[in-house]
Each structure stands twice: as C-alpha cells, then as structure tokens.
C-alpha cells in the first residue's frame, strides 16, 4: 500500500527572526538551481547561460538600463498584487487591468493637444487608472453583491481583455488604429500618441524610465497609507480577520471594492507607462505576450507583499525577464524564464510553512498529541482521537 513519508509539524510560537529575510534569497537560489538542472537536462551549459544572463542584465554597458525597463511594469503590477493579496483578496486580473489601462491611456495620449508634458502625463496616468480600476470593479462588485469568487472572474477577464485590444487594432477601424499610411492599413497597428506626451527618462549612465520612479513613489505612498491611515488600519484588521473587522464597524464590502479598484488602478498605471514610456501606441501582441500581471504576483509574493520590498524584487525579476528576452533563441528558449519565475513563486508559497511550523522528517515530535499521531499507523489503523486545542 501507498505509504506517505512521515513529515510532522511542530507549531512555532514565534518564527525565528532570521527566517523572514532569509527566505527570498533561498527561494531565488533554489529556483535558479532547478532551472539550471532543466537547462543541463536539455543539453545546455547552465553556468555559461547564467553568466551571460548576468552580463546582459547587470554588467554590460546599458544592461542595467534594460533591466530597469523590464522592471518598470513589474514594480507596478507587483504593487497591484501586494495590495490585494495581503488582504487575502485574490486579484489575479492585473494582466487584464493593465491592458484596459493601456487602452484608456493611449486614447488620452492620442487625443491630447500640445498641453505641455506635465498636463499630458497626468491625463494619461489618470486615464490608465480609470481603465484599470473599471476593469477591476467588475469582479469586485460581483464578489460583494453576488458572492462570486474573484479568482475565476479576474482570470476570465484576463482572457477577454486582449481580445478587446485585438478587436480595436485588427478588426475595426477604431479610434486607436493608425490609418494614415498605406502600410498601416495593410498591417494594422495602433496610432502613435502625441510626441510631446512621450514620458521622460532620467539619469546618465543608467537610464531610469519615468514609470519606474512612479513605482517607487507609489510604493512609499502605499507603505504610509497601510501604516498610518484609517484606511490602512482597516485593511490590516480585515486582513487578519474579516469577522473582527466587521465587529469593529468596518464596512468590509466597501473596503473590498476599494482595495480591488485601487489595485486595478495601479495595474492601469502600468498600462499607461507601457504606452507613455515605451511603445507610444497600443500594441496588443506585446501586451498579451508579456504576462506582466502574473509575473507581478511572483514579484509581490517574493517579498511577502511588502510595498517597498516590491521595488527590489521587481528589479531582480525584471533582470531575469530582460535576460530571457535578450538571449532568446535556440540556445535559451524563452520558456525558461517562466520556469524560473514559477519556481520562485512555488518555493516562496511552500516555504511559508517554515514560518509557522518546524518541519520534522522521520522523527517523533515531542508534543503529546503529535507523539500519539506518529505512533499511529498511516494505513488507517485504529481511529485516533483528533486533537482539540492541544497545541496551539
């Protein structure tokens, strides 16, 4: 008969202090090692590939700038994920919210006249926030009023959003589509936004996109909001226990909608930044292919949904994405980057257990109930009394 290995858990009263900060580097390292094994198993030289990845993302001239370009959307989608996941609200829809944000922001960018950079940037950012926020409001309202789990609705909306973008550029002569030249009519593409509305870059040796700075500002703002405002307090209470929140007079339904819409708005800013900082027109294929939203969840989970941590982890994960794109080819299939990012997320999720429990393999735990359990036969021997409030 099937026998599971004997793994026991002793509950920790308090996780050791080093564990929190140690976990992300361990998870990243382990993911890179497993990724290296996959490379090796498919006949490639992992050391050589990892060395080249470090070069194109960190040490080559211009490499750091490229990493920041890749990190820019991830800071923002990472923040979007951090806001909701922290509250155990599962907004998996940042991908779609980013795309609809990009639709709104590019419309604003096309419509703008010469109003000056500050005004046009503000308009584009707000447009992106409105787009992303509206797209997130759908699952939020469905959850609050009709009790529908946001996991599936946000996911389905991720599949619908790119179809809207494709429709706007490829299937109609919409406002977003460039119809000025013969070539653009044959090979459909988006209208370019006003040149005066292109977002600026900063820095000399290392070029910093404006969207990245916006991400840092937002991360600081969110940290302050969570720590020291009433809204943040309500978020923290509801995260720990929604029931306690309700007893304390927090209107949890309203809070949930606010948090979801805020998260969608931040993802929408990522969409606006894609238009303003980089592509300057709606690019359905690039946005659909990039999966910034899903990657943002890995970014946020790596630092346990801490807004300031998101900035650091976005640079790290961005470096990985950038290297994947730069070295893409038969030698390094693009899929490897997804493998590494997925592994990081899986390992982080799995390592949560070590904060709450001490994992003991194959040895009898000391606690009373546990000892009884370890002695029990795994093949469903005599029924044991389930522990009730024994060790807690």
């Amino acid at each position: 008969m099937l026998r599971l290995p004997e793994i026991h858990f002793e509950k920790r009263l308090k996780p050791p202090r080093w564990l929190g900060p140690a976990m992300p580097p361990i998870a990243v390292l382990a993911a890179l090692i497993i990724g290296g094994l996959i490379l090796w198993a498919s006949g490639r030289d992992p050391i050589d590939i990892y060395q080249r990845m470090v070069r194109v993302s960190f040490t080559n001239p211009g490499a750091l700038s490229a990493t920041l370009v890749a990190a820019t959307p991830l800071v923002l989608t990472g923040l979007a994920a951090a806001i909701t996941f922290r509250m155990k609200v599962w907004n998996i829809g940042a991908d779609g919210q980013l795309m609809i944000g990009a639709v709104f922001a590019s419309a604003a960018g096309i419509a703008l006249d010469e109003q000056g950079l500050a005004v046009s940037m503000t308009v584009m950012i707000i447009a992106g926030m409105v787009g992303g926020g509206l797209w997130a409001a759908i699952p939020a309202l469905l959850r609050v009023y009709l009790n529908t789990s946001e996991v599936l609705t946000t996911l389905m909306l991720n599949y619908i959003a790119p179809l809207i973008l494709f429709y706007l550029i490829f299937s109609t002569t919409s406002y977003w589509r460039d119809l000025t030249t013969e070539g653009a009519r044959v090979f459909p593409r988006g209208k370019t936004i006003l040149e005066g509305a292109f977002w600026p870059e900063y820095g000399g040796g290392v070029v910093v996109p404006f969207g990245f700075i916006l991400g840092i500002v937002l991360a600081v703002l969110l940290t302050v909001v969570v720590r020291s405002t009433r809204f943040g307090f309500q978020m923290r209470v509801s995260a720990d226990s929604p029931t306690a929140g309700r007893y304390a007079g927090i209107r949890t339904a309203r809070l949930l909608v606010l948090v979801m819409v805020l998260s969608g708005a931040v993802a929408g800013i990522a969409g606006a930044s894609q238009i303003g900082d980089f592509s300057h027109r709606l690019e359905p294929k690039i946005l659909q292919f990039a999966v910034f939203g899903y990657t943002g969840i890995a970014v946020a989970a790596l630092v346990r949904y801490h807004p300031l941590g998101v900035v650091v982890s976005a640079i790290l994960v961005g470096a990985l994405s950038n290297a994947g794109l730069a070295l893409q080819g038969p030698e390094l299939p693009l899929g490897l980057i997804g493998v590494n990012q997925g592994l990081i997320l899986l390992l982080v999720a799995a390592s949560e257990v070590s904060a709450r429990y001490k994992v003991v393999v194959g040895r009898r735990p000391r606690t009373g109930h546990g000892a009884q359990q370890a002695g029990g036969d795994l093949d469903g021997g005599p029924a044991e009394e389930p522990a009730s409030g024994g060790v807690s």
């Binding site: 389905m156 990657t295 899929g335 997804g338 899986l346 522990a387």
Partner: protein
C-alpha cells in the same frame, strides 16, 4: 440531415467539450476531497506538449504511438499534481498562490513552451491523429450517427469515466469516504480515514485526467503545436466543476455546452457569418463568468453547496 446546423454544432461541441469533461472530472474528484487544484491549465499544457512530442518522435505503429502518448501525458499530469499535492496538502501552502505558481511554471510562457522549443515542435503538423470510429457501421445514421457512433477513443473513454465517477462517488465506500474528507476532514479523521492519503490520491488522479485532456488538443483536435494551445480551457474546467455543483452528470452536459460555445465561431464562419473573430473567441470566457455568477449568487448556493472544507488545509495539531 447530418449537415444541419444543429447537428454540426453538437458534433463540434463534443469535439471541444471532451477535454473539458476529462479535466473537469479530474478537478471534481480533487475538489470532492477538499483540494482545489488551480494548476489544471499548466497540467493540460504539459500533457499536450509531451504527448505531441512523443507522438512525433516515436518510431512504430500509429496506434501504439497514440496510446503511449496518452499514457505519458497522464504520467506528466500525475507528476505535476504530486508536487502540487505535496505543497498544499503536506506543506499546507496557500492553494491560490501555489496554483498560480504552477501556471507560470508550466504554462504558456513556461515549461510547456520550453519543451516545445527544445523538441522543435512548432510548425510541422502531426504524424498521428486519433481517428473517429465507425461503430457498428452506423456513423451515417441520422443525428445519432455523427454524435454517438463516430467518435474517437477518448470520447468513449470520457463517457465511461463519467459513469464510473458517478458510481464511485455515490455507491462505493471509498467514494463516500472521499466526500467525508471534503466535507468534514476532522470527523473523517476520527472515523479512521487517512485524510492526507485521500487528498493525495484524488489530486493525482485529477492530474492524470488533466494531462490526458491536454493530449486531446494535440492528438485529436489539431495535431500541431502552438504555445498556449489550451487557451484557458483549464480555468474553464475549474469553473465547470462549480457550475455543475460537483456532480459528474451535470459536468458532462456543461462541458458540451461550453464546447458548442467554443466552436461557435468556427462553425458560423464556415457558413459565411461575418463577425469579428474576437466576439466569438470571448464567448466561452463571458459564459464562464455568467455561469459562476448565477451559481454563486442565487438559488444554487442554497441547494448545492461546495464541499465544506474545499481549499482548506487540514492539520490535526490545530483545533
């Protein structure tokens, strides 16, 4: 009569509904035990890519290539779901986050795409394809001919599995124990049922079915490889389980409804209906949202509830 629109829609509904039946049935079994496996999409894609790779490179008779390809897809699904079960059952990690991790890891931009580029699968069309039978020579019979007597082996297998699952869940002791594990693991444990083992076993069976469902795309629907060939069908299968109130019979009906909606675009376009393709492509996702909303909001919730312990890790140590 067999060219009528209704028959044509039903036939393509069956073609596109079958992977949903297989993957949905696997998810149903896992969820009946309390484990919500959100890695279905990743397991389907991995099943699809490995089955296609094997069927392309295997030298031997076609039937053997297809049979082994299906088995390999099942094994791959089992391997991935074992990892998932370890993470969520033994380590008690969050099931949503772990499921997403699997999606990124194995999904359209992850391992399935990596394997496809290593195997250079994109481009050439497949050497083998599951053929439809002509059972009792009745494939030309009106209506029932194309629907019932002219399907490929996996369709018949899926029907058998649905019947088997219904019997298993409601008429066998193990099946009833499984329901107990999903409803009230503490009492099940007190009865001497090994909660962890039930959860492992059914998550892994679910993984095997998801792998085979993936193989159906590259062996039956269209024997070629494109990244993200399942296009969210794994998530639709998860939604189907909810809208079928965790019942195998309803799941079968729902899967074919979704199959019809998925193929509506192809069928109507072939008949000269000229609408933007995006409208048809979005229909299954819109329908999924509508179905989940209807089930979770109103009368459905009061009558048929989800397994009470769905998504919750079980530990003896904590009361």
């Amino acid at each position: 009569m067999n060219d009528s629109l209704v028959v044509e829609l039903l036939v393509s509904g069956l073609l596109y509904g079958t992977p949903l039946v297989l993957a949905g049935l696997g998810e149903l079994l896992a969820e009946r035990g309390g484990v919500m496996n959100l890695g279905v999409e990743a397991m389907m894609l991995m099943g699809a890519v490995t089955a296609f790779w094997f069927s392309q490179s295997f030298e031997g008779p076609g039937w053997l290539a297809l049979l082994l390809a299906i088995l390999i897809a099942a094994l791959v699904g089992m391997a991935i779901s074992t990892v998932y079960a370890f993470v969520v059952v033994t380590l008690r990690a969050n099931q949503v986050v772990s499921g997403l991790a699997l999606l990124i890891l194995g999904g359209a931009t992850g391992l399935s795409s990596y394997v496809a580029s290593v195997g250079e699968l994109a481009g050439p069309s497949g050497r083998h394809r599951l053929q439809a039978y002509n059972l009792f020579g009745l494939s030309d019979a009106p209506v029932v001919g194309p629907l019932i007597f002219s399907q490929n082996i996996l369709v018949y297998v899926s029907w058998g599995l649905v019947a088997l699952a219904a019997f298993y869940l409601y008429r066998t002791q193990t099946g009833l124990h499984l329901q107990a594990v999903g409803e009230d693991p503490r009492s099940a444990d007190a009865m001497g049922i090994n909660v962890a083992r039930y959860r492992y076993a059914h998550t892994v069976i679910g993984g095997a079915l998801a792998g085979v469902a993936g193989a159906y795309y590259t062996l039956a629907i269209a024997p070629t490889w494109v990244d993200n060939v399942t296009a969210g069908a794994g998530w639709i299968a998860i939604a189907l389980v909810i809208t079928a109130f965790w019942r195998p019979g309803l799941l079968l009906a729902g899967a074919y409804l979704f199959g019809i909606v998925t193929s509506l675009g192809f069928t109507l376009q072939a008949r000269g209906v000229d609408l933007p393709p995006e409208i048809f492509s979005s229909l299954p996702y819109v329908l999924t949202i509508l179905a989940v909303v209807i089930v979770s909001s109103g009368w459905g919730r009061e009558r048929f509830n989800a397994p009470a312990a769905l998504g919750q890790p079980y530990t003896r140590e904590e009361a």
